[in-house]
């Protein structure tokens, strides 16, 4: 396992590459999820403003 993580002494280069890729793709997914919640709650507020009785 430690040979896997050390990558023949090039761990810094290999894991900086894959780490950045993982962080960016995860961030994209999380941002999209948060955006969806924001849009739905804003539209929900607008709907309640339009029909306060519902």
């Amino acid at each position: 396992m430690s040979t896997f993580f050390s990558q023949g002494g090039y761990a810094f280069f290999v894991w900086m590459s894959y780490g950045a890729g993982l962080v960016l793709l995860l961030a994209e997914v999380l941002v999209l999820r948060r955006e969806r919640r924001t849009i739905l709650s804003r539209l929900g507020r607008l709907a309640r403003l339009r029909n306060p009785d519902r």
Binding site: Y10, F13, V14, S17, Y18, L25, E28, L43
Partner: protein, 252 residues
Amino acid sequence: MKINWFHYSSPATFYGLAGRLIPWFAWIALILTLAGLYWGFFETPDRLGGSNPQKEYYRIIFLHVSTAWLSMWLYLVLAAWSAIGLVFNTRLSYMMARATAPTGAIFTFIALWTGSFWGRTSWGTWWDWDPRLTSELILLFLYIGYMALHSAIDDPRRGDRAAALLALVGLVTVPIIFWSINCPDPNQCAALHQRSSLDRIDPNILWAMLTTTLGLWSYSFAVILARVRGIILKREADSQWVRDLVTAESRA
């Protein structure tokens, strides 16, 4: 079976279809990417000989090449949706173009970033104004320019058309990136970036790379569809179907 494609060009219909497709693409993405990387890290030689000897750092290839391919491919997709939008004036095409750009920009950035770490180990430099690196950097600026222009124009329909035009003009970069490694005379154009050698590559490396690429391609489908659903909701906020949908969601 005859499929009426224009049926799905209505944002209301496409919203539901996209929502059903996203989990499939997400699972395929996860499985293929992990399988490709497992293959690439555990079933390949640690060192490569030949005219371009490489040590363990060559494993950056699986992320580098797949994101670089997809950065160019997604630009073609962006330009295609823009062209369809300009020709047929279909709202959904513009929304798809708008949803494609951020993912394309992220893949372009990852390709440049991983290339930099590979370059440091393989060539001894983080960056060089090599034709391939420079033209890929211009691609990143084009993606950013597309998004910036779109959001700088208040009227979304005008923004759609202006940004679509920019996307089509920027299309000239893609063949330049593609052929930028085929420098005919090394004395006239110094190219550090190695040429494509898909025909001579170890089959394990090749197939691991292709599997990872398919996985990330599937990922791009999932996130682009998720993003377009958000864009549809924002743009169609005043329509009856979105109002009904929001009422249904708030009751649930």
